[in-house]
């Protein structure tokens, strides 16, 4: 009798957890599907859909320079996915990818023993982990980024944390990204607080800000597929698959948060601090939008 009661209670608890877990995810899934659908429609046939999505782009340019139709996985290439001149230019640059040396450095750092004799492998026995970051840690009640995981590994092993955004930390993350290539992004929303963090990130993405009064959405959703002078605006879909990126402007690697902080500053807002709550929430939302897409990073950008 007691066994039966325990079984019933256990089953009902598991079912409740599953039902609630599904609920936490429901809004995000609805958003993601609409987001993906928007981009697929926009890039299905830019020539035929010119009036709706590209009214100011010359027809000649649409026919000559635009690559279409784009499928879901094509968006892994960011601005190179749709704009032929950029794609050709970067194909040449990537004959000898500038990120290769930093990735080699990252591998060396990954395997170099700490003072206690252990390596990063003590924390990451399987380095193909990037597809699950950032994730919401229900015990700590916060978003954990891959940069945080790297630094926490160092601290556990008695080392000083690295500076976020670039340098050695970006190199180790780039090595982990290479090891995770081909893995599908799999971000989860496990509880109510995670859903709130997702919503906060979503608001940061869509709400206009700064003295230019623009949002991430203005450039990377509504204007994705257009140019600012000679620069092709990248679609937000798939934006996190190429991270960390080697930017020619930076002359080195930078993490997703470094790029996002730069973008926020470009709106005329104060630059958010690395690993600040809002920046982590923005990364959480944006990565969730590309759920199911294969990782491709690191890559090269202007």
């Amino acid at each position: 009798m007691l066994k039966k009661l325990i079984k019933i209670v256990a089953i009902s608890m598991i079912s409740t957890t599953i039902v609630f877990a599904a609920n936490f995810n429901a809004q995000a899934e609805k958003d993601r599907k609409a987001f993906v659908d928007y981009f697929l429609k926009k890039f299905e046939n830019p020539v035929a859909n010119r009036d709706k999505y590209f009214p100011y782009v010359p027809l000649k340019e649409l026919k000559k320079d635009y690559i279409y139709p784009l499928k879901f996985q094509d968006f892994q290439d960011g601005p190179l996915s749709w704009y032929r001149p950029s794609k050709e230019q970067f194909a040449e640059i990537n004959d000898f990818p500038p990120y290769e040396i930093p990735v080699d450095d990252g591998e060396e750092l990954f395997n170099k023993p700490f003072a206690n004799g252990k390596t990063y492998a003590s924390c990451f026995p399987n380095p193909a982990i990037k597809q699950n970051y950032p994730y919401y840690d229900v015990h700590r009640d916060e978003i954990v980024t891959i940069g945080m995981a790297v630094n926490e590994c160092r601290v556990i092993n008695g080392e000083k944390p690295l500076k976020y955004g670039k340098g050695d930390l970006a190199k180790v993350v780039a090595y982990l990204a290479v090891k995770s290539r081909g893995k599908k992004i799999d971000i989860k929303i496990p509880n109510e607080n995670a859903a709130k963090a997702y919503e906060a990130g979503k608001k940061l993405f869509y709400k206009q800000r700064g003295y230019l009064a623009i949002s991430c959405n203005e450039c990377h959703v509504k204007s994705a597929g257009k140019r600012i002078r000679a620069e092709a605006l990248s679609p937000a879909l798939g934006a996190t698959t190429q991270m960390p990126v080697y930017r020619i402007k930076w002359g080195g690697l930078g993490t997703l948060q470094r790029r996002l902080a730069g973008c926020v500053k470009d709106t005329g807002s104060e630059k958010p601090k690395m690993q600040s709550k809002p920046l982590k929430e923005l990364a959480y939302f944006l990565t969730y939008m590309s759920n199911g897409m294969k990782l491709f990073g690191p890559d090269t950008r202007k």
């Binding site: 979503k202 869509y206 206009q208 800000r209 003295y211 009064a213 005329g268 807002s269």
Partner: protein, 102 residues
């Protein structure tokens, strides 16, 4: 003479009106800086502050003793920016959801 008095009165009234019309103007340099700091802190805590506001405010603090007139002008500029950022944020709070693809 009457004409001169009339013109002077109108000019003084106009200038006084302009001064009173600036909602962010403060009298003393300390008041101006405190006002700007409070508004900046609020905008910063909501993560909506503009990127130059802090710099302008810091410059005002530096000039507080050596050039109070300039310091007040800078503090008022910082206060104006911070308040505009807060107003802008409140306005966009009502509209951002309409931007989400459906």
């Amino acid at each position: 003479m009457k004409k001169l008095i009339l013109i002077s009165t109108i000019t003084v009234a106009f200038l006084a009106g302009c001064a009173m019309n600036n909602p962010y103007a403060s009298n003393g340099v300390d008041n101006a800086i405190a006002n700007a700091q409070a508004k900046y802190n609020k905008a910063h805590s909501q993560m909506v502050a503009w990127k130059n506001t802090k710099k302008v405010l810091e410059k005002a603090k530096k000039l507080a003793k050596s050039n109070p007139k300039k310091a007040i002008a800078l503090a008022n500029e910082a206060a104006y920016e911070a308040q505009t950022a807060l107003d802008q944020s409140a306005e966009f709070e009502k509209t951002w959801r309409a931007e989400v693809p459906k």
